[in-house]
């Protein structure tokens, strides 16, 4: 019997959606979800589970969807993953769960992400209350620093175990990259809000506007708390540092996205934070951040080109995001590397680039881009947005003396988040370098387990 095709999710028309910030994919309705779930072979040795960093019982929850027990499906998901509505939307499924699905052999893996998202959205729409089960009070206090996915997960897990948790966030809104980085059209902020209100129900004290290290010193934290979890993210943007980097019109993707997502600059002047609206925008990079910046710039009315030094095959962004970006009209200029920004009166007007070719694979396993001599050319543009990666953010670390770092400047921690200081645990991007939401959550969960063990 031939394998049936995947059921596609409902997506908004690319022309229309490219003009607003509402969600692009509407996911499955019940009928589609059930049809897709029925395609799952319910393997006795499910390879998909191995592909999921938190080992969700994938056939288990899919079976419930196939049988229309949506609430049951949601409960199974929640056992493994406290943010299924987020992960269903943003996990790089093609290299994780879906990439490991047996049906890949026939080229048509189950749409696990869309099914996960469906179950979570269904539960939310039908007001399925998450069970709040809190163990007996442990009379111990934990400080969690940073409210990204790792901090949110650690806080929830520890609160459930009966610990008193103070969650500190330096921003005025909790959620980390989920609120300032990933745009509304990919991850509606109401989903993050809902998760945060769940933490409040669990009794977590969320304390905003606190720069830990400055308003509260590490020493104070160590004295006042029984354990500490650090989940402050990777965060500091890298620049290529070519000539003209300080010109007006050159942004880091972090700045561009923070202005738009967290500060709602796309509504300027109704909101006070400005952003440059431009006719032509070039985004440099090939990851999720580059796609998010490009698609955001497009929504502000620009003609957008992504410039990437390798070929499309090597782009680290999720395939779906590349596909969506193309559908919406983002242009791709691959095998191209900027070498110099050109300005007039302090403003960017063009970028000088050079063409690249691919050589032998480098240490990352990807073929190394090599400049082709004499191939320089110029692209006119008003804005350039660099999305070439981040490095360890020293904001907290510079204050946290005595904490051992690895050679890249990230916190040295074992699989369970244990650091060089016995009371102090860490996880997420500040340990691994820029990674994924699900890995940060997984790290948060493991650290919560280790903290519980440590305090017992």
């Amino acid at each position: 019997m031939a394998v049936k095709d995947r059921i596609p999710p409902i997506e908004r028309d690319p022309q229309k959606r490219a003009k607003d910030f509402f969600e692009v994919s509407l996911g499955y309705d019940e009928e589609r979800a059930v049809l897709e779930a029925q395609r799952c072979l319910q393997c006795s040795i499910p390879t998909c589970v191995k592909g999921c960093p938190v080992g969700i019982d994938i056939p288990g929850f899919i079976k419930q969807i196939a049988q229309k027990n949506f609430e049951e499906a949601y409960k199974i998901l929640k056992d493994y993953n406290s943010l299924p509505a987020v992960c269903g939307r943003v996990c790089p499924q093609e290299i994780q769960c879906e990439g490991a699905c047996i049906l890949n052999k026939a080229g048509k893996p189950i749409s696990i992400g869309n099914l996960e998202r469906f179950a979570a959205d269904w539960a939310s729409k039908n007001n399925v209350e998450d069970e709040i089960q809190i163990d007996k009070n442990q009379n111990k206090k934990i400080a969690v620093i940073g409210s990204g996915p790792s901090g949110l997960t650690t806080s929830a897990e520890l609160a459930k175990k009966g610990y008193t948790v103070d969650l500190f966030e330096v921003f005025h809104t909790p959620g980390g990259v989920l609120v300032y980085g990933i745009p509304e059209f990919r991850l509606p902020k109401d989903i993050v809000k809902k998760e945060v209100s769940f933490l409040e129900k669990l009794g977590v004290n969320i304390i905003l506007n606190i720069p830990v290290g400055f308003a509260i010193h590490p020493q104070e934290i160590l004295e006042n708390y029984d354990a500490v979890f650090i989940g402050v993210g990777a965060g500091t943007p890298k620049f290529m540092n070519i000539d003209g980097t300080e010109l007006n019109g050159v942004y880091s993707a972090n700045e561009f996205l923070t202005r738009i997502n967290l500060m709602k600059a796309y509504k300027f002047p109704q909101t006070d934070t400005p952003i440059k609206f431009a006719k032509k925008v070039v985004v440099i990079g090939g990851g999720n951040t580059a796609m998010d910046a490009a698609r955001s710039a497009l929504r502000l009315g620009a003609e957008v080109t992504i410039v990437y030094r390798r070929s499309e095959n090597e782009m680290p962004a999720r395939k779906e995001e590349i596909h969506h970006a193309k559908e919406e009209g983002v242009k791709f200029l691959t095998l191209t590397q900027p070498v110099r920004y050109i300005g007039r009166n302090g403003k960017l007007i063009a970028i000088e680039c050079v063409k690249m070719k691919l050589g032998e694979p480098d240490e990352s396993g990807r073929r190394k881009p090599i400049p082709i001599e004499g191939s320089n050319f110029i692209i006119e543009t008003e804005l350039a947005i660099e999305a070439i990666g981040t490095q360890s953010n020293k904001f907290l670390l510079s204050q946290f003396k005595g904490l051992e770092l690895n050679k890249w400047g990230y916190i040295k921690a074992d699989e369970f988040g244990r650091t060089s200081i016995p009371k102090v645990f860490a996880g997420g991007d500040i340990v691994t370098g820029a990674a994924t939401v699900i890995l940060a959550m997984g790290a948060g969960k493991k650290a919560a387990y280790a903290i519980d063990q440590f305090l017992k």
Partner: protein, 280 residues
Amino acid sequence: MKTSNLIVEKKKLAYGIHMFWIENELVANNAKAGQFVIFRIHENGERIPLTIAGVKDGTFRVIVKAVGKSTYELCRFEKGDKIIDIVGPLGQPSEIKNYGNVLVIGGGVGIATIIPIVKELKNHRNRVDVILAARNKDYFVLEEEFKEVDNLYFVTNDGSRGMKGYAHEMMEKLLKKKKYDISWAIGPSLMMKACSEVAKKYDLKIWVSLNAIMVDGTGMCGGCRVRISDELKYTCVDGPEFDGRLVDWESFNTRLIQYKEEEKLALEKYLEKVGEPTWL
């Protein structure tokens, strides 16, 4: 911890220059000279960096100069009002120790922001000479707080008090006769630049406090980047104080006017809504 963010005292010091004392023990108890806070004054508000210009009993002080929409709006806040978000202290504190002879220059609102630095320098038993520079005699705000300094010099652009001219001219005059071990200059960037040039000429170390345009203030966005002797630094976490002789002033100054058109529009729209800013 009392972090009500309530304005417990408010005073207009000069036209468009307003002083606020705000209740926030976390900021007050941890602030060191040279550090700043970031305000957000309402739900649609932008993040506004302001220097901490003094602390007292769980409250801290900022002196705000109205230059655009957000600061016009902030100057309208009164005693009893609340700032919805305040985050701080942020930035590296000033490097204060016993140096010997120190020259500190404050211009415009910079006059207020050098107060904590001058106090700390005195606490470390330095001999501190201070130059205060302003447009005219009405702008020497908080002058009474400089009583402890060793010599106090005034400069006005119109000659209405002290020397007529600019801060850096007075600075050069002093440097011709006296040797200083280190200096600070805080004020408008043109003043800081001019003072840095003088400092370079006399081989004097000079700290300036850069008011780069910021968003997060935590080293996450890179918007506040500035070139310091050919290296990119982030003003919010590596600064705000840098050696003025090493700052690339040209690019710093152009980055300050990045949003000129947008700022103009925002202020116009605001004034359309509220009418004459009579409160300034």
